[in-house]
């Protein structure tokens, strides 16, 4: 219990620091959202009004505090009849799109999550399986082919593989849809069908890394004394591999997985662009084009929060997988 609560405390501290730095850096930047929405001709008076309306006239620290409180209590922009309500959890308000950032994110997040979670499952399964086969059949042609392929896969950008996959399986063979997203709630089959190629693309690249990692770790473990003992006891090779081999490779794999969550999200953004999926990535890119600062801040902080939370989960999983972890290792975000 103390471990869990300490973990949560560390998580909140990291989130506070990161959100503060992010907020200050992004808001202090020269791009002025008030200037963008002030209309033409933009008189100094109207600009000042717009700034006051958006809350940009306050000192930085005060802005950050109202942003933070807005997450818990919601906030109102402006005080006149034109006031805009932003219900809790309020991550800001996009004056450009005329919608609360939370709503925009909630709209798009399912796409990105479907993509990222599915790909992560596939990548772990494929990676561990390929690595195990390679380790068991070490030195054979199969092993060398798999390992050579994994070096190549590490160097191939996901979006490039995605586009080539799209070209082959989408346009030429006409096997899978070439773009778009169908919500899970609408039709689970169409959902998976539209995601299958993006999942594979995103998973394959990282699976290569995990195949190499699994192979090395497994070979290491299989050389240990306790594995020899297990074999000497007469355990079947399959049981040795599962109970003694793979069980002990799980911890390093989970560690790496925690570190890779950030790049998984980045990969999802790139994959979304390839398959024209309306996820958080495309929302962010559009916000970039429109200099829509509230949306940019909202997505940045939201994704950080997701990564930090996922990391805490991964870290707690560590304790379950390996009881020694509790005493020895500290999580990366604690």
């Amino acid at each position: 219990m103390t471990r869990v609560s300490k973990r949560l405390g560390g998580m909140i501290l990291v989130l506070l620091i990161v959100s503060f730095l992010t907020y200050v850096v992004l808001i202090a930047a020269p791009a002025d959202p008030a200037l963008m929405s002030c209309g033409r001709p933009c008189t100094p008076d109207r600009l000042a009004d717009a700034r006051a309306f958006m809350g940009y006239d306050e000192p930085l620290i005060a802005q950050y505090v109202s942003f933070l409180t807005g997450i818990f209590t919601g906030r109102t922009f402006g005080s006149t009849a034109a006031a805009v309500e932003c219900a809790a959890p309020c991550l800001g308000y996009s004056f450009r799109l005329g919608a609360p950032v939370t709503e925009l994110i909630a709209d798009r997040a399912p796409v990105t999550f479907s993509l990222a979670i599915g790909a992560a499952v596939l990548w772990l399964v494929l990676g561990v399986a390929a690595g195990t086969i390679s380790a068991v059949k070490r030195g054979t042609l199969l092993d060398r082919a798999a390992m050579t392929l994994s070096v190549a896969a590490v160097s191939a950008p996901a979006y490039l593989v995605g586009l080539i996959g799209l070209l082959i399986f989408g346009f030429t063979l006409d096997m899978v849809p070439v773009s778009g997203y169908v919500p899970l709630t609408e039709s689970p089959i169409d959902w998976a069908w539209h995601l299958i190629l993006p999942w594979l693309v995103l998973a394959l690249i990282s699976a290569a890394v995990y195949a190499r990692l699994t192979r090395t770790q497994l070979l290491d473990v299989l050389g240990e004394d306790f594995v020899r003992t297990a074999r000497a006891k007469g355990l079947r090779e399959g049981v040795v591999l599962r109970r003694h081999g793979l069980r002990n490779t799980l911890v390093p794999i989970v560690t790496y997985f925690g570190l890779d969550l950030g790049s998984l999200l980045g990969g999802a953004v790139l994959t979304e662009r390839v398959f024209s999926m309306p996820g958080l990535g495309s929302l962010l890119i559009d916000a970039f084009g429109n200099a829509d600062l509230p949306v940019i801040i909202g997505i940045t902080l939201f994704s950080t929060a997701m990564i930090v939370a996922a990391n805490a989960a991964v870290d707690l999983l560590h304790g379950v997988l390996d009881p020694r972890v509790t005493h020895v290792q500290k999580g990366i975000f604690s």
Binding site: V151, P157, F171, G262, L265, F288, L293, T300, F333
Partner: protein, 297 residues
């Protein structure tokens, strides 16, 4: 150690076929990028509307491959794809090496001081390294590029932003190495003789970090090249008309069915560059210390 490191590295590196292959391709790319204006008489900005049809599709086979355009042309504009890719290599390598330098500078500064000073600074620096390591870096890169002052050239912004998120692996390795060095006899002797901390760091620790930094710096170049390409692919990196492989690949998204060569040409270049630098980096690392083999990150 400084004197012997290159002597140890070279024979091992030369024996590694993959690393030699990677080094060769990487060297060819650098030469091609440097000599780009000599290798092609066409520049990557000149339109050739005779090479594309009324709807913008390149005329001829393979995206307009011919005597005038060795690798075909860009749809719509008819700009020479060979010239675009060749000049794109300049952008990629420039950003790749520039961002690596930024990352190495930050990484060495953070890692060496953390490992040398220990205490609260080490705790803070290591924790920060860990946090930045796990960050959704691409999203932060996009956000930072969005708010960068317009006066600064975009290329410089890309270099800084990409480099700024690349330092954690360097900091980690350098910190570990510094801690080992701190306990070595010659450092302990220097301290005993009354050397000031900054003298020890500057004269004794830093020179001995050099081989490690060079090797891990090389290993960082492909990821930096990849990050620039990713940003440009998304349309938030190097702006047109500066040639960039990533941006061309991004433009190719809408042409993939009509003109696959438009995707494959810059794609192959990007893949070759990342793969060659990866192979060279892996080889260098194995040659520096075979035990580091799986300590990639």
């Amino acid at each position: 150690m400084t004197e012997t490191a290159p002597a140890r590295i070279w024979p091992r590196l030369r024996a590694d076929r993959w690393a030699v292959g990677g080094a060769t391709v990487a060297a060819l790319l650098i030469v091609a990028a440097a000599a780009a204006p000599l290798l092609t008489s066409t520049d990557p900005y000149t339109y050739d509307l005779d090479a594309v049809s009324g709807s913008g599709v390149p005329l001829g086979t393979g995206g307009g491959i011919g005597a005038d355009h060795w690798l075909g042309v860009e749809p719509m504009t008819g700009r020479d794809l060979f010239a675009i890719v060749l000049h794109g290599a300049r952008t990629s390598l420039l950003v790749g090496v520039g961002a690596t330098l930024v990352a190495v500078l930050i990484g060495v500064a953070v890692g060496a001081t953390a490992g040398f000073a220990g205490g609260w600074w080490d705790a803070l620096a290591s924790r920060t390294t860990d946090v930045v390591f796990g960050f959704p870096a691409l999203i932060f890169m996009i956000a930072l590029s969005a708010v960068a002052p317009p006066e600064i050239p975009r290329l410089l912004i890309v270099v800084l932003v990409v480099g700024f998120f690349g330092w954690p692996p360097i900091a980690r390795v350098v910190r570990a190495q510094t801690i080992t060095l701190r306990h070595r006899t010659f450092v302990v002797a220097a301290v005993a003789l009354g050397a000031r901390p900054h003298q020890v760091l500057w004269r004794h620790i830093l020179p001995n970090l050099l081989p490690t930094v060079l090797v891990f710096g090389t290993m960082l170049i492909p990821s930096m090249i990849g990050a620039e390409a990713a940003l440009s692919f998304l349309g938030v990196g190097v702006p047109p008309p500066t040639p960039s492989w990533g941006r061309t690949i991004g433009d190719a998204v809408s042409w993939v069915q009509l003109d696959p060569m438009y995707l494959l040409v810059p794609g192959t270049a990007l893949f070759a560059a990342t793969l060659s630098f990866n192979l060279l980096g892996d080889g260098l690392r194995d040659a520096l210390d075979p035990k580091l083999r799986e300590l990639r990150r």
